[in-house]
Structures are given as structure tokens and as C-alpha cells.
């Protein structure tokens, strides 16, 4: 039930855009997005719920596509501070409200 994230890694120049996808083999109820910098705790970015609207955090936004069973995270006009590993966590009501994390996407933003 672990979600699949793609790409596994991405390198950007400051100001460029990127998209990270999180795909599930089952119908999603909720998707969480977290960012983790090296040696630090994962930090919450946003939650998307089934039927909910697209969310945003600074210039980072995300969408939830129920038909595709997928969520996408959009890094717009990337900043150096966006570097880190991004994890999606998916939840299914039938799974007892348990959150399962994907393998992560490493993002490096260069000057």
C-alpha cells in the first residue's frame, strides 16, 4: 500500500519549476506532504482530502486527482530553501486511519 513517488530525484536552478507525483494503487482519502532537510525532522507542508481544493504553501502547491489516484506537488519559482526530500503520505479510511509514506523525492535547488 506504499505510495509511489516520482521522480526519485530532481535538480533545479533557482527560479525553475518542478512537479513531484505521488501515486496510489488504491482509492485515496487523504494525502499529506512533508519536507525533510538532511538531519532534520520532516516538516508538514499541506494535507489534501478527497473532494477538497488544491492547497498552497508559499509558492508550493498541490493537487489531488481522484480518478488517477494521484497527488502532485508543484514547486513554482523554486528557491534555495526548497532543497530537501519531499515525502507524500497516503491515508485510506479502510486502513484504520493509518498514514503510509512514499519513498521520497530528493530535490536540490542550485543557485
Amino acid at each position: 500500500q506504499q505510495p509511489v513517488q516520482s521522480p526519485q530525484a530532481v535538480i533545479l536552478r533557482e527560479g525553475e519549476d518542478a512537479v513531484i507525483n505521488c501515486s496510489s494503487s488504491k482509492a485515496l482519502y487523504s494525502v499529506h506532504w512533508y519536507r525533510q532537510k538532511h538531519g532534520e525532522a520532516p516538516v508538514f507542508l499541506m494535507i489534501l482530502l478527497k473532494g477538497g481544493e488544491q492547497k498552497g504553501h508559499e509558492k508550493i502547491s498541490a493537487s489531488f486527482n481522484e480518478k488517477k489516484q494521484q497527488s502532485s506537488l508543484y514547486l513554482t519559482a523554486s528557491q534555495l530553501s526548497y532543497s530537501g526530500t519531499y515525502f507524500c503520505g497516503t491515508g485510506f479510511k479502510a486502513a484504520g486511519n493509518k498514514l503510509t509514506f512514499g519513498g521520497g523525492t530528493r530535490v536540490l535547488v542550485k543557485p
Binding site: Y29, E40, P42, F87, G89, G96, N97, K98, L99, G103
Partner: protein, 116 residues
């Protein structure tokens, strides 16, 4: 607001030894989680507490791992005996109420365990 506190920050032990990790969640948070994060992978849930009761421990290797949350506040995770494959970062997280899938988790900085 104080965050989730964990200790120790690093621990190096030899295989077959025992080790314990401590976590103090954010004050007032009812739900506490222990995750194992192997290098290059996403966090894997080991155990979830609601106050001082276990909600989910289906992925906890119970032959060697144990966890408790006394009085519904602090928690300890123990490994006895440790194996090489237990080398990982152990993250503690908490949330205000029972994880209803629409509630964010607050993570601690983790304990990095190396088993030699």
C-alpha cells in the same frame, strides 16, 4: 511552542545489545507515533498510541521491539537484542487528537541508530 523532543540524538551499539529511545510529544497531543526511517526510504510506522493505549502495532517486530507510553505522555521504544538491519533513524511524531487522516503530524529530530 515546544516541539517533539527525542533523545539521544545518536546511538552506536553492537549487534545483540539493547537500546532505548525516549520521546516527549508536544504538550496536549493525544496521539504519538514511532516511525523507522532507513537511509534513503520514507518513514515506516512501527507503533501508534492514543493516549496510553496502542492503536496500531502491526508493523512492530514484537520479538525484539517494545514500546510503552506511560500516563499518556512520554514514550520509550526499546530494541532487545539489536540486529544490523535495525540501523536507521527512529522518528517520534505526535498529533493533537486521534489521527483522522486530516490532521498534521509534528515530528521530532529523531535518533540515529547505528548497529555494528
Amino acid at each position: 511552542e515546544a516541539g517533539v523532543a527525542q533523545s539521544p540524538r545518536y546511538k552506536i551499539i553492537e549487534k545483540r545489545q539493547s537500546v532505548a529511545f525516549w520521546c516527549n510529544p508536544i504538550s496536549g497531543h493525544a496521539t504519538l507515533y514511532w516511525y523507522q526511517q532507513i537511509l534513503g526510504q520514507g518513514p515506516k510506522l512501527l507503533i501508534q498510541f492514543q493516549n496510553n493505549g496502542v492503536v496500531d502495532d502491526s508493523q512492530l517486530p514484537k520479538d525484539r521491539f517494545s514500546a510503552e507510553r506511560l500516563k499518556g505522555v512520554d514514550s520509550t521504544l526499546k530494541i532487545q537484542p539489536a540486529k544490523l538491519e535495525d540501523s536507521a533513524v527512529y522518528l517520534c511524531a505526535s498529533s493533537l487528537v486521534f489521527q483522522g487522516l486530516n490532521e498534521k503530524l509534528f515530528f521530532g529530530s529523531g535518533t540515529q541508530l547505528s548497529v555494528l
